[in-house]
């Protein structure tokens, strides 16, 4: 995929090692290919099941360092080096608030000062040094610069849009090129057949020697536009490239689906639970005497359940009242 496309999609594969093991439950990736190891802010790892188990109910201490953590603070690791991972996260976060651009400043010096200030705060967070103060500064900056932050965010959005449109236009262009290419191909085919046909006709009707006829045709051909097109084609349109660019990936958020508790037997309806007696008196029912029914899976119990469910279904439904009738719609 092109760099532009992936940048636009923010798609980066997660880091995984073949011999990953969850330090908590000890399950290994070897036995469980899709296992996801998540990393908390304190750099400690856990597989998603353990995270779910531990933090579903609310904040809890990290099993290793006992720092109080929330489930939302766990992420999939992107970079092999956890320090890099940490840094990237922090910088991403900073960029959301500190999003001034060069054009926001009258002087280059002011811009540089700004950058230095941001870096100072960032380093504080990175090295876990005086984080309270850092947070305070971030918050203060945010409060003081709310409108600029917002404005720059929408600028970013707009730039994105423009980039996207350019990208789309590029796609369009490629599409058209491809269509043109196909059209030319088709025309070429047609010309070839025409030539072949006229050659055949000439051979059939003319008195000249076959060799001469063909030679004459060949000369004609060389002069025609056909050859011109052939050379053009050497600057090949790579269809595969174009198709690859039009590739459609849907990368949804897996965490959401996987961490939610789920019930395989989920049903929109109220379940029915009937307790049956061990035996019922039912002398008129001769169906079970031969044994052919049970062999096919039809048991007395199933039959009884069927009947008693029928007896209890809707037993306590009250008949429609007059008011309900008037509001009844089609």
């Amino acid at each position: 995929m092109s760099v532009l496309a992936s940048a636009l999609k923010q798609e980066i594969p997660a880091f995984q090692a073949d011999d990953d093991t969850c330090p908590q439950c000890k399950s290994e990736r070897y036995l469980n290919r899709p296992m996801k190891l998540l990393v908390g802010p304190c750099y400690h790892k856990m597989c998603e099941q353990c995270v779910s188990q531990r933090f579903d109910a609310g904040p809890a201490p990290c099993p290793v360092c006992e720092r109080i953590l929330r489930k939302a603070e766990f992420y999939q690791q992107i970079f092999e080096d956890l320090t890099v991972e940490n840094e990237v996260r922090i910088r991403k976060r900073m960029a959301m608030t500190f999003n001034k651009r060069q054009e926001d400043f009258k002087q280059l010096k002011d811009y540089n000062d700004y950058l230095e200030m941001v870096e100072d705060i960032t380093l504080k967070l990175l090295y876990d040094d005086d984080t309270d103060e850092a947070e305070y500064m971030i918050e203060r900056y945010r409060r003081e610069n709310t409108s600029i932050i917002e404005r720059n965010q929408s600028k970013l959005l707009r730039d994105e849009t423009i980039q996207r449109l350019a990208f789309d236009q590029e796609q369009q262009r490629k599409l058209q090129q491809r269509e043109e290419h196909l059209r030319l191909l088709a025309e070429e085919q047609r010309e070839k057949t025409d030539i072949k046909n006229s050659l055949i006709t000439a051979l059939a009707t003319s008195n000249m020697d076959a060799k001469d006829i063909v030679k004459a045709k060949m000369v004609q051909l060389k002069k025609s536009s056909l050859s011109a097109r052939n050379s053009l084609r050497s600057a090949r349109f790579n269809i595969d490239d174009m198709l690859a660019d039009m590739d459609d990936d849907d990368e949804l958020d897996e965490d959401e689906a996987n961490n939610a508790p789920f019930d395989p037997a989920e049903s929109p309806y109220e379940p029915v639970n009937i307790k049956l007696l061990d035996r019922y008196d039912d002398p008129k029912n001769t169906a079970f005497r031969q044994g052919g029914l049970t062999a096919a899976g039809v048991t007395r119990e199933m039959h009884q359940r069927y009947l008693i469910e029928g007896a209890l279904a809707g037993l306590f439904v009250s008949p429609l009242e007059e008011d309900a009738a008037s509001s009844e719609e089609q």
Binding site: R70, F74, K92, D248, L252, P264, G292, A296
Partner: protein, 372 residues
């Protein structure tokens, strides 16, 4: 509608006027299927027009069974019958539009199945089936191409042309039902009253087929089907299956040994093979039910079933213009979403659930049911 003084014919005409047919999607001996939409909500629908010249005794049984069954079922994993109307002497079923089915998915060799994908399909299929069985309805024609798949990945049971109530032991039923490869042994032995276990047998075959990417028990003829089954699963003894010989066409069969299932299903996990075996138990009384199957550890163990929207789907035909436009519009939306994601992702931790609305697949081979 029921309490308004409107003539039967008028109700029908009004229903018919709500839907507009767009183009033909497919045709079979039994019905023609059109793509259409509701004129007011624009909801996409499939209109199955059932031809009635076939049966000289008026309304065809298959159509009646299908209408009767679908009208009574409402479940996320059962195809929705939205409306019915008759036009001249055709019966039109307005169904929700589903663009592909499990058979297409299995046959599309460009798709790779993960165990989580198979689990997801099985779970949705069993949920739909469990619902039918809870309503005391047998499907009686389960096979991959009767599991339709929506654009959001949801799998739905379809084609109820052979469906029938069960539970009343006094009514005789035909044993000539279900497509051969998926037919349960008790049917092959001529049982004239049976239960949901015949559907579960079919599910077991489908489970195996998803794992193998090929039909599991493809018998060459009705007579051979039993042999095929016994060869693959071993011949059951009277102990395995008490009363087996009491069934109408039970006789002494050639004895095949029981093979090691894990050999063939090497790519499947142990719990999957266990569930499969429980679904393919000979004795229908011991064969697992749909409800119990959903409680089997297979569904609770990792991996989690793939979210339906992320399940593999057959490829689209890229050359179609319409699909292109839809894809482009969709991608624009995705880019916007991706950007929003980046903004939210860092702190919140839980990004909104994305529901990517897939554009309609262009390969419109909607299967038409034909009576068995």
């Amino acid at each position: 509608m029921a309490s308004k003084a409107v003539l039967g014919e008028e109700i029908n005409k009004e229903t018919e006027s709500l839907y507009k047919k767009e183009k033909k999607l497919g045709e079979g001996t039994y019905a023609v299927v059109y793509l259409g939409h509701h004129i007011r909500t624009n909801r996409k629908v499939a209109i199955k027009k059932i031809k009635l010249g076939n049966m000289r005794s008026g309304l065809d049984m298959s159509a009646i069974r299908e209408v009767k069954a679908l009208r009574e079922l409402r479940h996320p994993n059962v195809i929705e019958l939205i409306d019915v109307f008759s036009h001249k002497t055709n019966l039109n079923l307005v169904l929700e539009f589903l663009d592909t089915d499990l058979e297409n998915v299995i046959k599309d060799k460009s798709l790779v199945f993960m165990p989580a994908d198979i689990k997801s399909w099985m779970m949705m299929a069993l949920r739909g089936l469990d619902h039918c069985h809870k309503c005391w309805l047998l499907h009686r024609d389960l096979k991959p191409n009767n599991f339709l798949i929506a654009s959001n990945g949801q799998l739905k049971l379809a084609d109820f042309g052979l469906a029938r109530e069960f539970g009343d032991v006094k009514r005789a039923m035909t044993s000539q039902t279900v497509t051969r490869w998926y037919r349960a042994p008790e049917l092959l032995l001529g049982a004239t009253n049976y239960t949901g276990s015949i559907d579960i047998w079919a599910m077991g075959c489908i489970f195996a087929e998803l794992s193998l990417r090929a039909p599991y028990l493809p018998g060459a003829s009705d007579l051979e089907q039993l042999t095929t089954i016994f060869r693959a699963r071993g011949t059951p003894t009277e102990d395995d299956w008490p009363g087996m010989l009491k069934l109408p066409t039970g006789y002494n069969f050639e004895k095949f040994p029981k093979p090691q299932f894990s050999d063939l299903f090497r790519g499947s996990s142990e719990d999957a093979v266990d569930l499969m075996n429980k679904m393919l138990t000979f004795n229908p009384v011991q064969r697992i039910s749909a409800a119990d199957a959903l409680q089997h550890p297979y569904f609770r163990n990792l991996p989690r079933p793939t979210a339906p929207a992320k399940l593999p789907r057959p490829q689209q035909n890229i050359a179609e213009e319409e699909a292109e436009a839809a894809v482009d519009a969709n991608k624009k939306r995705q880019f916007e979403d991706a950007f929003d994601d980046a903004l939210d992702a860092t702190d919140a931790g839980g990004a909104d659930r994305r529901q990517i609305v897939e554009p309609a697949a262009k390969r419109m081979d909607l299967r038409i049911s034909s009576p068995a």
